[in-house]
Amino acid sequence: MNEAKRKLLNKRYRAEANFKLFGQIAIGLALLFLAVFMYKIFSKGYTAFQKTWIVTEVHYDKELMLIETDNPSLEDLENADYYDIAYKAMTRLDPSLPEEDDRQLIQMVAFTYEQEVKNHLLKNPSLLGKIAPIRLTASDDLDQVHKGNYPRDIPEEDRRVNDYQLKIYDMLNERGDILSKFNLSFFTNPDSREAELAGIASSFMGTVFSILVCLAFSFPIAVLAAIYLEEFAPKNKFTDFIEVNINNLAAVPSIVFGLLGLGVLLAVFNLPRSTPLVGGITLSLMTLPTIIIAARASLKAVPPSIREAALAMGASNMQTTMHHTVPLSMPGTLSGTIIGLAQALGETAPLILIGMVAFVNTIPGTPVDPAASLPVQIYIWSESAERGFVEKVSACIMVLLGFLILMNLAAQIIRHKFERKWN
């Protein structure tokens, strides 16, 4: 082999190695994106599962509560006045503070502190007349300070927590009167304008209802359609037309389905706006082609020998399909359905168009109550300027991703456990 040939060969081998390297880099990049993404979300979001409380003492003073009877019933407690005792509970943190500056202390807790004092007493009526410790939800700004997400070294006028409040916070922190515990209210509270009180319960229920409505509409229609197209449809132009239609529908952008929901479900059928019912129907139109395609694929995977055996035993076409083919195809259909629902679960744009973006601070009890959904909640919170919502958004994303992972796992398990392999 002469020198020129060897050079050429080396060059070709180098090109080979380079090409392989490019492929590896591409895969590495894709994986890197995923890793950075997950890291960012989790590192921002995990703190939202902790909630900060300020511990103080409250004197359940009958006189200040305007209770006149000696032995007040629960109803009396319910109607009593809590403003003064709650206010005093906060101001006692720093008795030296002049009265006109009291707001600074009050601002350190959530605006519902009066309600919290009331609920505490209603739970423990025996505390009436006594002085007892109580924990109050800290304001979102203080919460962020405690979690270290809020820079303390910027000039005071740019900060939402002033020097005095930081001083009180440090004092309380040293005394051990700042508590940090698992944030249950994030899961049980509805949405709120205040970050420290905002929770995902309302949007979570909205999501559950929409997905159930979506399942109830799309699954039966899609399975029946798939059975017709795969087992009964004659080979003609019209069947082809339906098939082309389904394939194209699967690739229509989701926002177009939102326009359909707005223009038909709301404007023509006058269904209630902002409700999971409309959201679910809109999503079901979107999920329909996905499930049809999955169900057809799994019907196709049932070998013809099954059908032939049934027909040979004298079963009719319909009996063969309903007793043998369809049951055998169910695992594939179900896992396809779950994957379709997981897609629908993450959809945001169509739900925004049908009005599920409204601020809802009640937990919906039925599919016709106004509600948001988890992805829309992410959108609403991320548009909010308050710093406290950033970690809430990340936490909400974690919950949503958790659901998606669970659903995909369920689809995998169904597929691997129940699907028959035909060889």
Partner: protein, 458 residues
């Protein structure tokens, strides 16, 4: 009321299944039947419920229009426009339901009384007619149960019709999309010339907002030029493809040709996770992390960067699209017949030369198809743009400025309360139909190309 009626029909339907089966079993004890007893049950149940339900739903669809015509007949001699009539009808309805607040005159009051009367009458008539139909068809079916009636065939024919109807759902959805978009878009093009929409370079719909009354047609002319949106849409899609095509295609090739079975088994599903993450999550990521990052880099290079840049949105969208291209091109490349590879190796080509010179050209139609599908995906993507690339429709080719897209403008216009009849709302539907046409066009081409390609090698 309606719910009670439906449950009653369904309940009767279920119970008639048992009646039918019982009658058949009694006949069976003395004579041979031509079908299984349960088919007699199904037959009876179908005859019991189906006609009643069909009449019920037809009635429910047409009742409102008929009632409306009855009520508005009184107002026809007053020469009112369609909108005024609609307003009167809404008032009458609200008055009848007791939710009306406002001035009540005698005329309205009379109409409301009439409305309640007609509504009651219609309700009673509906119940009577539906139940009568149910009893008639049920008794017909019951007496037709005889030993030598072939009951399986009619039941199966009915089922087949049910299946066929379900398969029409997809067609219905498409028709629904086209008509709902067209209906509003046509009304939009009555107030804005289609030429101004397609070729206008200034998009500023907020300008047309006028309290009470019609907006100025001169303003309208200049407010709905969609060119900045079309340009922005394809610009962001282009940036996304610049990220997605190299990474996606190379990973697809690597997975198909180089990766060991084990690497492939794990890497492919992990990359596909990228496609399963909801777009709103990408949007948040783009707005909070990538946008500021791009801005920081740009500023350190002395460039003017908007914090909501097209680059950030496009790049994140590209990451989202990687798995579409990698998975599809992986499938397409794996489908290239082995003998093409063997032939190339036999000629002494290295693996990469085989890929570049033989496999890639052979798989090109399929790869182009998958890229077109990905482009259509990028064009229809909404949340990333809404959250990360601003809402002002600038006509620009600078990736560091913010631009807007068709989808983002639809969201901007329709978020919050919409008023039908407002040119702004109609403009969203006009945008919707242009989006639908563009993506449909891309999809049809992509699907045809991929189908042709599959046929070639199968």
């Amino acid at each position: 009321m309606n719910l009670v009626l439906i449950s009653l029909i369904l309940l009767l339907g279920f119970s008639s299944y048992y009646f039918g089966r019982k009658k058949a079993t009694i006949i069976q004890s003395s004579q041979r039947l031509t079908a299984l007893p349960k088919f007699y049950g199904y037959y009876l149940a179908i005859w019991c419920a189906a006609p009643a339900l069909i009449i019920f739903s037809l009635w429910s669809v047409f009742e409102p229009t008929i009632v409306k015509n009855f009520i508005l007949a009184d107002y026809l001699d007053q020469n009112l426009t369609k909108n005024e009539l609609q307003l009167i009808y809404t008032k009458v309805k609200a008055l009848a339901l007791g939710t009306y607040t406002g001035d009540i005159n005698n005329f309205l009051d009379n109409s409301a009384g009439k409305y309640i009367q007609i509504k009651n009458m219609a309700n009673n008539a509906k119940i009577v007619i539906v139940l009568a139909a149910l009893i008639l068809s049920l008794s017909y079916a019951y007496q037709s149960i005889k030993k030598n009636n072939r009951m399986r065939e009619p039941v199966e024919i009915f089922l087949k019709w049910v299946l066929f109807t379900a398969s029409l759902a997809a067609v219905l959805v498409t028709i629904g999309i086209v008509f709902s978009l067209l209906f509003e878009a046509i009304r939009f093009f009555q107030s804005v010339r289609i030429f101004d929409f397609i070729f206008g370079t200034h998009w500023y719909p907020a300008k047309t907002f006028v309290r009470d009354g019609q907006p100025d047609p001169e303003l309208m002319k200049d407010a709905f030029g969609a060119v900045p949106l079309f340009a922005g849409t394809f610009f962001i899609a282009f940036i996304a493809m610049c990220v997605a095509i190299p990474v996606g295609l190379l990973s697809g090739i690597y997975l198909a040709e180089y990766a060991t079975r084990k690497v492939r088994k794990y890497a492919k599903p992990i990359i596909e996770i990228l496609a399963g993450i909801p777009t709103v999550v990408y949007g948040f990521f783009a707005a909070l992390t990538v946008g500021p990052f791009v801005k920081e880099i740009g500023n350190s290079l002395g460039l003017e960067v908007s914090s909501e840049s097209a680059l950030a949105a496009g790049a994140v969208m590209g990451v989202m699209i990687i798995p579409f291209i990698s998975s599809l091109s992986d499938d397409v490349i794996s489908a290239v017949p082995q003998n093409l590879r063997d032939g190339s190796y036999a000629m002494g080509a290295t693996k990469s030369e085989t890929i570049k010179k033989v496999i890639f050209p052979a798989a090109l139609p399929g790869i182009v198809g998958s890229i077109l599908l990905a482009v259509s995906r990028a064009v229809g993507e909404t949340m990333i743009v809404v959250m990360a690339s601003g809402l002002a429709a600038n006509l620009t080719a600078n990736p560091l400025e913010s631009t807007s897209t068709i989808t983002a403008q639809i969201v901007v216009i329709l978020i919050g309360d919409q008023q039908f009849g407002d040119p702004k709302t109609q403009a969203a539907f006009a945008l919707g139909i242009s989006l639908f046409v563009v993506t449909l066009f891309l999809n049809v081409i992509a699907l045809t190309v991929v189908k042709k390609y599959r046929e070639k090698y199968e």
